[in-house]
């Protein structure tokens, strides 16, 4: 029987789909009986979804953008990567 502590060490393997069938069944059986571990898994999922949303990096700095667009025009004037116009 899986303990709660063991379950917390298997959470990533579970979320990554890397448990064996037997491990996965024990994991899910434990979850079915243990509301605390259900809370733990829920916390982990919420953490990951939150981390996936914190990317609020500011916009590309204006000078970086300008430099890139200038180089884009050079590239384009050289004929881009297609046949020369």
């Amino acid at each position: 029987m899986l303990t709660c502590q063991q379950l917390t060490e298997l959470v990533t393997d579970y979320l990554e789909g890397r448990l064996t069938l037997g491990q996965k069944l024990s994991f899910q059986m434990h979850l079915g009986m243990c509301r605390h571990c259900r809370s733990y898994l829920k916390q982990m999922r919420l953490t990951l979804r939150t981390v996936g949303k914190i990317d609020v990096e500011k916009e590309v700095p204006a000078e970086v953008r300008e430099d890139l667009l200038k180089r884009f025009r050079d590239w384009k004037n050289r004929g881009g990567s297609g046949p020369a116009p």
Binding site: V11, Q43, E59
Partner: protein
């Protein structure tokens, strides 16, 4: 509102010489590429230079890109190569996988004091019913707390969690970029995620106490 154009559509427009399409692609991937470059060169200014090179290399290689991989994966592979080369040139030549081990191989996902002797919860986790990712990621205080938690992770763990959970790269891509095994990748991810969850738990507990 029409959906934003897909990356491949942007590529076609870039090939046709459309500047706005290039600007859109840059906006979309710049932050991810800078974070990736910083795994190998650390200094932000240098990372930004590397990413400028990435965009130039992408333009030069655009017509040869075979489109079997996603545009994102293609940019990631260009960035990883250029950033590694640059890192080596700057004498930061330690290959990622040879870096000192994080030193917490025996670390547990949850403080063992929270469990009873039989391995069951003594101090169980809260249900967090009120929280949503939107609420947590939009509030400056909680966002900064999470960013700090990620920032304090050992280098390898931070790199893996950033690529997987912020940038949404697959485990195979992360293994390729970092030159680590799939198992190692998963262990690093597990350590990192466990710590960030614990940090968020600490933050939310403090918030409850403050109310």
């Amino acid at each position: 509102m029409p959906p934003p154009p897909r990356d491949l559509e942007l590529l076609d427009r870039i090939l046709a010489g459309e500047e706005e399409a290039f600007a859109s692609l840059v906006e979309r991937h710049q932050a991810m590429l800078v974070r990736l470059a910083m795994v190998f060169v650390r200094d932000r200014a240098v990372a930004e230079e590397v990413v400028q090179e990435v965009w130039m290399a992408a333009l030069e290689g655009l017509s040869r890109f075979e489109r079997r991989a996603s545009v994102k994966s293609w940019l990631v592979s260009i960035a990883a190569n250029l950033a590694k080369t640059r890192g080596q040139r700057e004498r930061r030549s330690t290959p990622f996988s040879a870096l000192a081990p994080p030193g917490d191989e025996n670390a547990l996902a949850v403080d063992p004091a929270r469990f009873a002797a039989n391995g069951g919860w003594a101090s169980p986790p809260e249900r967090w019913d009120e929280e949503t990712p939107e609420r947590l990621s939009l509030r400056r205080e909680s966002r900064e707390w999470i960013e700090m938690a990620i920032g304090q992770l050992p280098e390898q763990q931070r790199a893996v969690m950033t690529m997987r959970d912020i940038d949404g790269l697959g485990s195979d891509e992360v293994c390729n970029v970092l030159g680590i095994s799939e198992t190692n990748q998963r262990v690093l991810l597990h350590r990192a995620r466990s710590k960030v969850r614990a940090a968020l738990e600490q933050y939310l507990a403090g918030e409850v106490n403050r109310c």
